[in-house]
Symmetry: C2
Subunit: 484 residues, 2 copies
């Protein structure tokens, strides 16, 4: 851009007239704006009339008028009645250039001190033995798509507008029936809140119930995502080692201070897989009642049980008074759906909804409507039944391959449920480097120690649900080769 | 259910054999479970063999075996080799009945002390003058549906599986282009994070930057949802009265302690509507740099400007160093989409992603893919252009009707943008009871004082975007009647 002669703008502005670029008006606006911000046009300086400017710059009068009006509206120029157009006088001379004395702003202490998240990213690639991966290619996608089109056609206003922070009423209704039937959960549509995945339920529960410094019992080993969500409140985590039966309520007596909350996976301990016996469940509930402790029951993959029908939820045994029951559709349908739910003791519903509203308003209505229809038409139960058969076969294939190729190296934990098998190393080797070796061999395995806080464990989590039997067989062979 | 004779179960169990009910196995399971929990079957008591039980109860042997296996798996019964089946001995005798000494658990102090949310619920009904409502009946729904089906067919795996916490790459790419072109935002796909609505952006920003006790400047009046999200961190809000030009940076010099963050709506002050002049913008940025303050620019409805092209964002003037730019598709497309975005200074991206991951993992991929396609094909720009024309007419109709029917009662604030008009009462009456009177007359108006913290303001917010001109005319007449 040529230097501007005093009071004259001839040749000052070189517009780009190629097709598809910015309009001349946009370009002129940007050029004058830049000149003001950089001090090339100085505060109080008078500009030629729009007519003269148009002539000087070789532009149409309208182009110039529009650009100038916009600059005046934004406060770069000011028009004084009768005397013309001026560069605004009150612009700070220094503009926005960095200065020597600038103070760098900081993060919150909480965020600055937060541990790195336990990123599951690398294990989510669809390579064997990716964790948490369901057999997405078996999902009835065409049916889902058809239902999606139908519900949107039927009730566009409901789905486009602001939604209910509790979740779509139709979904809460069918879900209440499903949870009562299949899990013995004590609930009504009014005590269910639909959330954006189980992770959001855990995050909001933490905020609802925990203050900085509060003690929270977590299973060791346990789900790292839950620890991350709860630790974000500033609460202190008390990891409690699980034994062969899962969480031992006898431990609670010796804990000081009394925990505010216990985070448990009674149906299928994550990641070890045992089921908490009813005696322990009852003892836990008695202890929780006597000492004023909340229990969060994370029932993350209860639907996939191969030894018999799914267990009744701890929540049902409690009557839903002290237990907050958390579930998700990520495992049973698909993770991208981002829908989970929490069944709350009635006195917690209002507080939870306040936090949900402040966190993200409400979860989107369209997927909820599709899901409600999917459940109401019986497809959910049918899909689970189909997948259970498929996963049972895949699990057996994985266990057989492990016995065949890795019996001297790896011991599978006995578990009748879930989408992964946890194996331990007979020689107790460092599982992180073992996982890295498997990773290098094109496999996606998670080291067991990632889920432990205090305990020393050495093993691997092997997801099997998304992989056909033949693929599991060769993947086990590759794994063993990588480990030897 | 008949009392059980000692050692015999004849007639003890009365199954319901109606079609469609629970299976006999389920019923037997539930009956034995209940009897154990209620102490009717006592710990250590021996049960008859499954063959004898089947005979006593008149059930098939398989039915009994399945129920018993399930009860044994859950720990209600235990099978001792060679000696038969017993009620488990370690069940606590008290079961889960409430006891006198039970301690009620409590909420977190933060949650217990939180003010009630400023529920927008009642004003979201589609009655005039509902706030934040766009003209959803003008939305190109058929096109959206077609794109939805297309993208799901093209990349089902990407959309069903775990997604990127940053948001779908394709969406961040087109959005970066759109924001640079239309708003002068300085960004790249890597500094954009897709969130579940602007509310989530504000919530996560609060957690990223604020510790309890930190001072946060908010505009007074200002957006209540932002105050709720930021106050949830335990930060202290410093409401600063806006004047006729919006937020006055001169106020900052007198504030103690130095705020950690300022929450601003420079394009279109919410709810009063003025645009912050560039001189103030520059002074604000200089002050923020000198004193280490973060600025959050909430650009909630920047697309709807009737006096000229949308203003350049404050973020662009800053070069994206101290300003976090927050936007949403709720106003420009539809609220049920639940997609918003934040453009972050590069050094904040990683910390923000950690919090997003802990909060809800990632936002769902399918709607992001549809939106990316919608933007890439030029539909977004075209839709905004169409809506701008429509809304301009509706806004003029509302202003004309107000002048015609309520000139002696209400003074509209001058504003060239947005989806609502703010009017003030000439007589400064209590606006909450005025809003209640309008509510009773079937209208949905928000009192201006709801958005004020310290300032005493009396007025109404009248949303116009979703209502045809004739409806606005009669609604104004009804409003005036209700107010007189």
């Amino acid at each position: 851009m040529a230097r501007r002669a005093a009071g004259r703008f001839v040749g000052w502005f070189r517009p780009d007239r190629r097709a598809g670029g910015e309009s001349l008006q946009e370009q002129l606006y940007a050029a004058i704006r830049r000149a003001v911000l950089q001090g090339e046009l100085t505060a109080g300086e008078r500009l030629p009339s729009s007519r003269a400017l148009a002539a000087d710059l070789g532009l149409g009068r309208n182009t110039v008028v529009t650009a100038i009006e916009r600059l005046a509206a934004e406060g770069y120029l000011e028009s004084r009645r009768g005397s013309g157009l001026f560069v605004a006088v009150d612009l700070p001379a220094e503009g926005v250039r960095p200065a020597a004395g600038d103070k760098p702003p900081s993060l919150s202490r909480r965020a600055a001190e937060a541990p790195g998240l336990h990123a599951e990213g690398e294990s989510r690639a669809m390579r064997p033995f990716a964790l948490g991966a369901a057999a997405l290619d078996e999902f009835p996608l065409e049916l889902w798509r058809r239902l999606a089109v139908q519900v949107l056609r039927r009730q566009p206003g409901d789905l486009l507008g602001y939604g209910d922070a509790r979740g779509l009423p139709a979904l809460r209704r069918v879900l209440a029936g499903y949870l009562a039937d299949s899990r013995g959960v004590v609930c009504s549509p009014d005590t269910i809140v639909i959330v954006s995945g189980a992770q959001q339920a855990l995050d909001l529960i933490g905020r609802l119930l925990l203050d900085p410094g509060d003690a929270v019992v977590v299973e060791d080993p346990g789900y790292a995502g839950a620890r991350d969500a709860l630790a974000g409140t500033g609460a202190r985590l008390l990891p409690v080692a699980v034994d062969g039966q899962g969480f031992d309520p006898a431990v609670l007596a010796g804990l000081a201070p009394v925990p505010k909350l216990m985070m448990l996976t009674p149906s299928h301990q994550f990641p070890l897989g045992m089921t908490l016996p009813v005696a322990r469940r009852l003892a836990l509930l008695a202890e929780a009642r006597a000492r004023g402790i909340w229990i969060v029951e994370d029932d993350y993959d209860c639907e996939y049980r191969y030894g018999g029908p799914p267990l009744q939820a701890l929540q049902g045994l409690d009557g839903g008074e002290r237990v907050l029951y958390v579930g998700t559709f990520s495992k049973v349908l698909f993770p991208g759906l981002r829908l989970g739910y929490v069944v709350l003791p009635p006195q917690l519903v209002e507080g939870f909804l306040r936090l949900k509203t402040a966190a993200d308003g409400f979860s989107p209505g369209w997927p909820q409507a599709v899901l409600a229809e999917f459940i109401a038409q019986g497809h959910l139960v049918q899909h689970i039944r189909r997948m259970r058969t498929l996963y049972r076969k895949r699990r057996s294939a994985l266990l057989a391959a492990l016995a065949r190729h890795a019996g001297d190296l790896l011991v599978p934990r006995l578990s009748e449920a879930g989408l992964h098998v946890t194996v331990e190393f007979r020689d107790g080797r460092d599982d992180k480097s073992a996982a890295a070796a498997a990773q290098a061999a094109g496999l996606s395995v998670a080291p067991l120690s990632r889920y432990a806080v205090i305990r020393r464990l050495s093993g691997l989590l092997l997801g099997f649900a998304a992989f056909p039997e033949a693929e599991l067989e060769t993947a086990v062979q590759r794994l063993v080769k990588a480990l030897r």
